[in-house]
């Protein structure tokens, strides 16, 4: 039962929130978008995507809506809620702080 091993714990949430902040998408589209935006660096298996989405939904950060998809089939679209927007801001800030700190450490010249 593989976990999203390539992702730092908790970053999947951030990625999903960020992607949905741009536009409402359905699950399949999200999986495509993930690959696309990260230039295939970030691998998220289809299997772990849906539990992650359902978790965000249950937290109230994203809401679901059934709409017709681009190929005219009914699909479940997710969109960011007000609560989700706040969460995104918080997690993005955390991420920036953390990555700055780590880059800083990495850049230290070895004596």
């Amino acid at each position: 039962m593989s976990k999203p091993s390539d992702l730092v714990q908790g970053t999947l949430d951030l990625l999903l929130l960020k992607i949905l902040a741009l536009e409402p998408l359905n699950g399949f589209a999200i999986s495509l978008r993930l690959k696309q935006v990260s230039s295939d660096v970030l691998q998220v298996s289809d299997g772990s995507l849906y539990p992650a989405l359902h978790k965000l939904e249950q937290e109230g950060w994203i809401a679901a809506e059934w709409k017709l998809s681009e190929n005219n089939r009914r699909a479940k679209f997710y969109l960011l809620t007000r609560l989700g927007r706040k969460q995104l801001a918080k997690e993005a800030a955390n991420w920036t702080r953390l990555s700055d700190a780590i880059s800083h450490v990495v850049r230290i010249e070895e004596a």
Binding site: S2, D46, G60, L83
Partner: protein, 908 residues
């Protein structure tokens, strides 16, 4: 923030719970959409339809597991799972009614027994006394003897400690006291009356129905004759006549003005059980009279109780310290005296009431919890056996994504209905058995009311039972659940069909459970056997008197015309002449107290001619006032000298008869065996009396204790003042020896006694056989319950060991078949099976022996005539239990010999 969060999440949770079908359909559709798009994508890359499908599913990495993960995110999954498992569990139980019935009945037995005992514990130990602020009421006592009454001067000194205490109450005896005769009617009746001080009503929180209670101004010597009636008595005797208040009634020949009616308050009186004296609260008084005690009294007699309430912020220790101060002042005023061997002390009132029955009840509670553990172990064992048949089911569940936690929870949820049903059934079952038990036997426990009417189910009992059921259900449900979830999935799936052998782990768990059952059963059996030995010892102990064919009647002489000893002596003579005239009556005597129904007086003894010890009240003896035929009625043999005769009256020289223990204790160096005849002793402040006889010892206080030194004093030779005081403190008890069944003569004797006494009623008619039974009631109660518990335990343990062995035989059918095919005789097979069964049993017995050796000393004070670690008892219960285990494993062993080798091998 939090609120906004709920705004989003609550509708989602509700939707998950109540629109479950729709939510599930959406989940399906969402994932289906994904898969379809994925297939299209692979399709476009040129894969075949079949390959594309396979690739899409593989990318999902287990569709059903993913769905389950998504469901887990809903947060309501555990609730849903619970109900789903519950439904499934109930369905499984319905499908195997035999198992369900056995399991539920076993649990009902175990839980019911616990409910029954806990109901008693609740009524006696846990429910607060029905007084305002009951835990702040303290009981005044002398040393550690609740039974030793307070004298008026002691109370007066104690009452000065108003900085720490308030609502001081002085009150008399309800049951042991003489009560008072209601005489101005055609139905004379002896009432249960007690003298009380004014604050009594305040301390014990009487609620006034009509009128008022006494004031402190009325509660003084020479104050008005007033009476406060209990609601119950007023309704029963006066038909709730409201105009009675303000009128007077004739009590003991004197008019008393009724000033108020109060609702029955839990009254307090002293009693005696196998563990010694205690206060009791379960006999209501009919009427309360002002005690009108003299604050300047120097009278150290008197058999009062006293109690008070701690002032706010005062601790028991502070009050005790101040009580010591009162003692010092008292000793200053009355040096020496009755107090020298006692000291002022306080204890919480509840302690005085239940202190000495606590141990017995807790031991019972412990015993009954063993029964429950055994019952639970048995059911867990049954479940383990069933779990074996469900290994494939569990493996499939695991393969489909059920985590270990999930499986454990499922099995637990399936188990819980068994325990809850057992609990529900147990409440009904335990309570009804308890009711029958309390109604049919005399149980000597405080606070349980007439025939246990105060022992009732309340919310605490029900909560206790349901908690017990849930807790043991979870505890014992976890055993089979964990054991099942341990299984190796692929191994279980590979095994073919139903005949899969039980995992090694499971049979080990079952063996351990059986060993534990055997051990617990042995401890219970040991306890039961010890109490049985106690019971037999108490039954066979020679009480020193003959109880059979003796009938007793009580009469209150609490009225002015019997103040003079002469009047009492005349009554005794008249009564004796009349009653002994009845055909079938052998002898009539009068006494102030009965053997085995104790409340004896203790008198300080001074022996004439001995150099005074530094404390002149060093020596005490129990004292009993009797009329001459007392020894004849009870057939107490005379050892030396002579008994009282009718000529030992108020004009004759003052005499006394003592018992053998007193002769030996007080005259230890008597080599000729003649002393102490002719010696003279002084009791209290009386003039000296001559010892005229020594009689054999009688077990007076209780069957299980050694006789104490005792003096018998002729009723007709008491000083007038003492006689009058006796009349106020105790009844006269008539004892009649009959030639045949005594109750048949009861009516005639009552009639003659009434005529002789000028119309006084008699009450409390009991045979001495009955008195003797009541004296051992509490040990009988303990023994009976213990035997029931031990019986259930043995039965359950036998079933347990039988179950394990029968199952083992079934599992090893093939092996046995092979052995028999290879030439093993039926004897060999039996030996093989029995050896295994007995190994478990003996292990349990050994552990149980250690447990019994460690635990039975706790019940040492409940035993008589046998030591807690009695080797004979321990050996015999070990042998008994082993024998039961042998029989229980022989049955499956014999079945094993009937295995047909051909059939068994063909199963292969």
């Amino acid at each position: 923030m939090r609120l906004e969060h709920w705004f989003y999440t609550i509708p989602l949770r509700l939707r998950s719970l109540f629109r479950r079908r729709q939510v599930e359909a959406e989940l399906d559709e969402e994932l289906r959409y994904h898969l379809e798009r994925k297939i299209e994508e692979f399709d476009a890359r040129g894969l075949s339809r079949e390959e594309a499908r396979y690739a899409a599913f593989r990318a999902m990495d287990g569709l059903e597991q993913r769905k389950e993960e998504c469901r887990d995110k809903r947060r309501t999954n555990s609730i849903e799972n619970f109900f789903q498992d519950l439904r499934y569990g109930l369905r499984m139980l319905r499908k195997s009614p035999g198992f369900t019935a056995v399991a539920v009945l076993t649990l009902a037995l175990g839980i019911g027994a616990n409910t029954a005992i806990f109901t008693v514990v609740n009524a006696v130990l846990l429910r607060p006394l029905a007084y305002p602020e009951p835990d702040r009421i303290v009981n005044f006592m002398l040393g550690n003897h609740e039974i030793e009454g307070t004298s008026v001067p002691m109370f007066m000194f104690w009452r000065e400690q108003t900085e720490v205490l308030q609502d001081f109450a002085l009150y008399g005896e309800v049951v042991k006291g003489p009560g008072v005769n209601l005489t101005n009617t055609d139905r004379p009746e002896r009432l249960r009356s007690i003298p009380v001080s004014a604050d009594f009503f305040k301390l014990f929180g009487a609620s006034i129905e009509i009128g008022r209670t006494f004031t402190a101004q009325e509660d003084v010597p020479g104050g008005p004759r007033l009476a406060v009636l209990s609601d119950g008595f007023w309704r029963r005797r006066f038909g709730a006549d409201r105009t009675l208040v303000g009128k007077s009634i004739l009590l003991g020949g004197e008019p008393y003005v009724v000033i108020g009616i109060v609702c029955d308050i839990e009254p307090i009186h002293s009693a005696w059980n196998a563990q010694g004296p205690s206060l009791r609260t379960d006999t209501p008084a009919d009427v309360w009279l002002p005690v009108q005690a003299d604050p300047n009294s120097a009278d150290q007699g008197g058999n009062y109780r006293s109690a008070a309430r701690l002032k706010p912020g005062v601790t028991l220790e502070m009050a005790k310290a101040r009580t010591k101060l009162a003692e010092a002042r008292f000793r200053q005023k009355f040096p020496g005296g009755k107090l020298s061997s006692f000291s002022f002390n306080l204890e919480p009132l509840s302690e005085a009431v239940v202190g000495n029955v606590r141990l017995g009840l807790l031991v019972l509670m412990g015993a009954v919890s063993f029964v429950l553990l055994i019952a639970c172990a048995n059911v867990a064992n049954l479940q383990l056996a069933r779990a074996t048949g469900r290994r494939r089911e569990m493996a499939i569940r695991a393969a489909l994504g059920a985590g270990r936690r999930r499986i454990v929870f499922q099995l637990l949820t399936e188990t819980l209905p068994l325990w809850l049903a057992g609990g529900a059934l147990g409440i009904g079952f335990g309570y009804s058995v308890l009711r029958a038990l309390l109604a049919s036997s005399s149980v000597n426990l405080p606070r349980i009311g007439a025939q246990g009417s105060a022992v009732t189910l309340d919310s605490r009992v029900i909560i206790f039972t349901m908690l017990t059921a849930t807790f043991t259900g979870i505890l014992f449900g976890l055993i089979p659940a964990f054991s099942a979830s341990h299984d190796d999935v692929s191994a279980a799936l590979k095994e073919n069909g139903t005949r899969s052998g039980s995992g090694l782990g499971q049979s080990k768990t079952r063996a351990i459970l059986v060993v534990i059952e055997m051990a617990l059963t042995l401890v219970l059996l040991a306890g039961a056997a010890l109490l049985m030995r106690t019971f037999v010892a108490l039954r066979t102990v020679d009480p020193g008197f003959e109880a059979h064919n003796v009938l007793t009647f009580e009469m209150s002489l609490n009225q002015a015309r019997f103040d003079q000893t002469v009047a009492v002596a005349r009554l005794l003579r008249d009564a004796q002449r009349r009653v002994e005239g009845i055909p079938g009556v052998e002898a009539l005597a009068a006494t102030r107290s009965l053997p085995l129904d104790p409340n004896p007086d203790y008198a300080p003894v001074i022996i004439e001619g001995r150099p005074p010890t530094k404390d002149r009240y060093q020596d005490w003896a129990a004292s009993r006032d009797v009329s001459a035929p007392y020894f004849e009625v009870f057939r107490v043999p005379l050892l030396r000298g002579r008994l009282f005769t009718e000529r030992d009256d108020e004009r004759a020289p003052r005499v006394v008869v003592i018992n053998e223990t007193m002769a030996k204790a007080f005259w230890p160096t008597d080599s000729l065996g003649r002393a102490p005849l002719g010696e003279r002793i002084t009791l209290y402040e009386e003039p000296p009396r001559e010892i005229i006889g020594v009689v054999a010892d009688v077990r007076d206080a209780e069957l299980g204790s050694k006789p104490e030194p005792m003096v018998y004093v002729p009723v007709g030779q008491r000083l007038d003042a003492d006689n009058a005081e006796d009349n106020k403190e105790s009844s006269m008890i008539w004892v009649v020896r009959t030639k045949s069944e005594p109750y048949s003569l009861s009516d005639g004797i009552q009639r003659e006694l009434r005529i002789a006494s000028g119309g006084l009623p008699v009450s409390h008619i009991r045979s001495m056989d009955q008195v003797r039974m009541e004296a051992t009631a509490s040990s009988n109660f303990n023994m009976m319950l213990f035997n029931i518990f031990a019986g259930i335990a043995v039965l359950l343990a036998a079933i347990g060991i039988y179950g394990v062995m029968a199952y083992a035989v079934q599992q090893r059918t093939q092996e046995i078949g092979v052995r028999m095919a290879l030439g093993a005789s039926p004897r060999d097979v039996i030996r093989m099976v029995v050896r295994r069964g007995m190994r478990l049993a003996l292990m349990g017995v050994l552990i149980g022996l250690v447990g019994a050796w460690a635990l039975t000393p706790l019940m040492a004070s409940l035993l008589y005539g046998v030591k807690a670690s009695d080797p004979v008892v321990l050996t015999s219960v070990a042998v008994l239990l082993s024998a039961v285990a042998l029989v229980a494993s022989l049955i499956p062993a014999r079945r094993a010999t009937r295995v047909d080798p051909v059939l068994a091998l063909r199963l292969e």
